[in-house]
Symmetry: C3
């Protein structure tokens, strides 16, 4: 009955082989772009740039570091809520993000930063942000699978996830000329459906065997708030990190800040109203408060107006909390989708909603609001799309949603099939959500848990009889 969870060969092999592959591919393909190359000083003079401060580094580095914190501390700690899976949450998040950003630099580089002259990918600060964004899709997918998969499976999920992401992103952003600075579609919708589909394929009918480990304890709920708050606080940076210089970044930050504030109130309202005595549920506070950031991912850089942002936050707080209350149980029981962190409520629904909001806002754009140059600037109505009207842009935006969903579903089915092979060292149903399987735990831990978490009469008795 117990599965073989020994990953002593497979995990090191995967890590080392893939890391060596990264070194070789970086050696062949990756170089500094002109802003990070030592020749920048010559470039400055040639292009008559007035100052070093015009280096894109100074426009984007603060936002980059905020996004970096969201990826590693935000996602990592948000998933530490389980009573005995904090090591796995924060540790495997660390592992796959660190691998994913390397592979993303390559995959996204081939599509977006490839220099046809010397066949090299030229990287700068914007590529680092995009790599962090790309890996966010895989971390979202991990949220559905938390506690039920091995680190080797997660590495496979990330390899394919980043690959699919880069293709999907290319289609949506480059071919369809869709705007999606904060990735409602590209990141959240894709990542969530990718993870949910994999979870469906890996459905475990006997997961109740590890029911004792599926909840939180008081302390782990406090840790998880570290994740929630860093995600919440820095989401304005997430949605503005790669927006246009100047008003684009400025507006994206304001809109996201406002929407997030609004969603906190509706989340508390619905959480309180749904329980006896009006007590709040930490699951809702930890997650649904963030849904507004997801839903603003497309429209944040548009002129959605401050009150438009508030309305988005209002709705997403309600929808997401509603999802935790009713949809998660329904999906588990009826659709056989086990979603540990509730990514359907935090990423899938708000992501699709964000795509729709973005399409509507784009379609409603006008010269009277944006100004002629502002309209061109905001929607990049240049070159191939110079003659595109806002309403046509709205149509393309809507099409982007379907591309993201399709990549999530098809990619998830494919990767789910691969991960179902019995070679990856995943845990038995009774050992899910348990750090014991993949981590050396501190010696005193088993006693600590048995006494303090579920006091065992036998244990106390045997102690007496000594």
């Amino acid at each position: 009955m117990t599965k073989n969870t020994n990953i002593r060969i497979s995990l090191p092999a995967v890590c080392l082989v893939w890391q060596i592959a990264m070194i070789i591919l970086f050696g062949v393909f990756v170089r500094y772009n002109e802003e990070s190359d030592a020749r920048w000083i010559e470039h400055l003079k040639e292009k008559n740039i007035s100052s070093n401060i015009e280096n894109d580094f100074y426009y984007r580095y603060p936002s980059f570091q905020d996004v970096h914190v969201m990826i590693f501390v935000g996602f990592g700690f948000l998933m530490t809520f389980l009573k005995r899976y904090s090591f796995g949450a924060v540790g495997f998040n660390f592992l796959i993000a660190a691998f994913g950003i390397q592979w993303a630099l390559l995959m996204q580089g081939w599509f977006h930063a490839f220099d046809n002259e010397d066949w090299k990918i030229k990287i700068g600060i914007e590529n680092l942000i995009n790599a962090d964004f790309c890996v966010a899709g895989c971390l979202i997918a991990y949220g559905a699978l938390l506690g039920k998969v091995s680190p080797v499976q997660l590495m496979v999920l990330t390899l394919f996830g980043v690959t699919l992401f880069a293709v999907e992103e290319y289609i949506i952003l480059e071919l369809l000329h869709v705007k999606d600075a904060g990735g409602s579609m590209v990141i959240h919708t894709f990542g969530a459906y990718y993870g949910l589909t994999i979870s469906r394929v890996l459905y475990r009918p006997n997961l109740f065997q590890s029911k004792r480990l599926q909840g939180s304890v008081y302390h782990s709920d406090v840790y998880a708030m570290i994740g929630t708050l860093f995600l919440w606080m820095f989401w304005p940076s997430f949605n503005s990190a790669i927006a246009d210089h100047g008003d684009g970044q400025h507006r994206a930050a304001i809109n996201t800040y406002i929407a997030l504030a609004s969603s906190v109130l509706t989340t508390f309202a619905l959480s309180s109203f749904s329980q006896k005595h009006g007590k709040m549920d930490m699951v809702h506070i930890q997650n649904a408060t963030l849904a507004a950031g997801v839903a603003m991912g497309t429209a944040a850089e548009f002129m959605i107006t401050p009150y438009g942002s508030l309305i988005v936050g209002f709705c997403t707080g309600i929808i997401s909390t509603f999802g935790y209350l009713f949809l998660t149980p329904f999906m588990e029981n009826t659709l056989k989708i086990q979603d540990t962190c509730g990514i359907h409520n935090l990423h899938a629904m708000p992501g699709v909603l964000g795509g729709v909001i973005g399409a509507i806002t784009a379609a409603a754009a006008s010269e009277s609001v944006y100004g002629r140059e502002g309209l061109i600037n905001t929607f990049d109505f240049k070159e191939a799309t110079a003659n595109r009207s806002p309403s046509v842009q709205g149509g393309f935006q809507a099409a982007g949603i379907f591309v993201a969903i399709a990549f999530g579903l098809v990619g998830g089915a494919l990767v789910g099939g691969i991960l179902k092979l019995p070679i990856w060292g995943d845990p038995a149903d009774a050992n899910c959500f348990d750090d014991e399987v993949y981590w050396e735990l501190p010696d005193d831990e088993p006693d600590n848990i048995s006494v303090s978490v579920h006091p065992n009469p036998n244990h106390v008795r045997s102690v007496q009889q000594e």
Copy 2:
């Protein structure tokens, strides 16, 4: 004897009604300012601004994010020190800050950012920082009331607190032309007296009934250090966030950094000296180390000199620790002011001191130190105050302190009276400081606590007898 703490109707009602009100008011009043509007690109050309980097976003966004972390993680985690009130500390802090920043954008907007041409409030990054500042006043007040009030009361406290703040701030900054970039008076003095007065009105003579829950446990003291450190590290950003571009922000950061370093040493010294064997007390380390940031809130942008900053830090570390040792018990026993977090020592005294230091530093300013243009620039001796001398400015600065105290006392008495009404669902004396009242706690928590925190002989015995 047990009070009705059911907030299932009142909390959702307050949250939803107020959020809808925010949407309507934002719809009527709030728009982007010219730096966050899509017409910025046209504005750039009209005003002959050389580059996007001149957008205020790039001057202030890094400081803004630091302030944002202080508000949500700093204040939130600083209050998690109680053994069973961590959810309430970080959760209600989250709720009221999210509401408060919206209401602050409106209230401060009407006073400071109102465009008389089209009757709209025009917002940009500086408004977001100011909204965070404004809400800090209410979070300080929450510190005095921690564990003794319901979230509905906190929402009321925040609604009135932000309103009072905006009026007080208008009087101090706009009418008296006082400088207070880091808010020693406007934020800390006001917020602290507001909270202390409310606490006095809501005095609970039988609070000893929840004495078992009034301390910390080992782990919760470590969480609280997360709050302390993020506040301590980012206080230079707090005091420099809305200071003048260039040397103003630069100097405010340096002065605050230096003062905070100094206060750490005197806090450790006094904490150690006050206990047997020289053992340090976490309460002092968590709080008194921060008082220097408060006390530098006014003078940080002035030419107070680096050693002046060190002296301020030296004194505040001593005064604040002294307050925790002697004043807090005195205030509780004699003045009937129960101050859970000791905001009198961390915000009230250092805030008033900061106002005084600011007044003296301003009065002592001279052209020989600041330079002619520097003096005008630092104190805004333009237009209405073009002829004001430094010593007159010092007098106005001192007047600002009294305005802040008066608003705190009168506002606190008023709001305290409202909060005393028996309709807000506040906890009984025996249930204060207990997350059980307002939160769904993890199932295993009661057992966990009863065994590990205060081992109950009866519990162990009953286990034996099974």
Copy 3:
């Protein structure tokens, strides 16, 4: 047998006397530099600087705050892993860093920022960063001594450590004209050998008496990950904080980001491969993942290429994990060096390696890669070193390593000798790693620990017999 650990006089005395000394010395020597002085506005016009945004504050403040977080939260929480020494880890880290940055502003100021005209040190944002860097050396040293020394000893260690650092830094950076922006040699190599030598001098043969407290518990390992992640995420800022404006900072951030990602994979690989069933060890994940940041400290600002950075990360993850597996036990048993946090693996080896990598990369630099101006710019081949060739620079870089090691060894022996005097209140062998010695602990803590961490049969029995 029990030592006198009463520090009620010594600690307050040291803190107060040294803080007063700081005030006096700052009063005599420290002033604002032209960018933080109120005369900046005049300076702007004189020097024809186009905008406030050219103030160095805007180039470096975001990086400064990241470094500040690394020093106080990063180092502080990384050391909280011990089950009962979290207060001491984060608290004493706070104390000595706060003292050290003041002393560093003076020491570094005399060497690097002294204005011969008016005999003043002129400080700005870069001095704050350098002060944080300087204190990092002492915090690294603390890592070897964690749990075995008194706070008074740590203050002495910091006083001498900062002094030695400033001299060593002057020799390496100013006299040898070595480049070391992220401090592989200056910070990490020096700090690690300084701490290891002190630990050797203070060798405790009977340290096994506190063996019960030498491990972690589940929760403390999760805290420690907060430290790990903030160090890991912000290391690109550490290595780029004082690099050249423009491409220098940009490239240093990219190289460090890439190297760190690579080291995560090899750390997980080796950690998994070294244990039965391939289980990972938190000690490795918490520490070895960071070694790449150390090893990139010198070369990050050079044109090491992205794949070069990946190779550095690949090797350091392996070397550092290997160190934890084999060298730490060997050093303790054979060399009598007790290294609580394993700084030899995280700072000493990677630091020396970083120096070597820097020397090789510098020696290999060429005009064809850097461009003529880029080469001059990157290596400061101006004035005294205008005629230095890259290969000669490589030689000087290599010499810097030996200077750093020599200062660590000799300084550590000297300071170790001082700290061995029986006057500093250090704990007995049986009381090492115990917060009880220097901290007022929450009342319930002893019971909590005795029940939950190592259930004590006697305790349970006595409870019965009541």
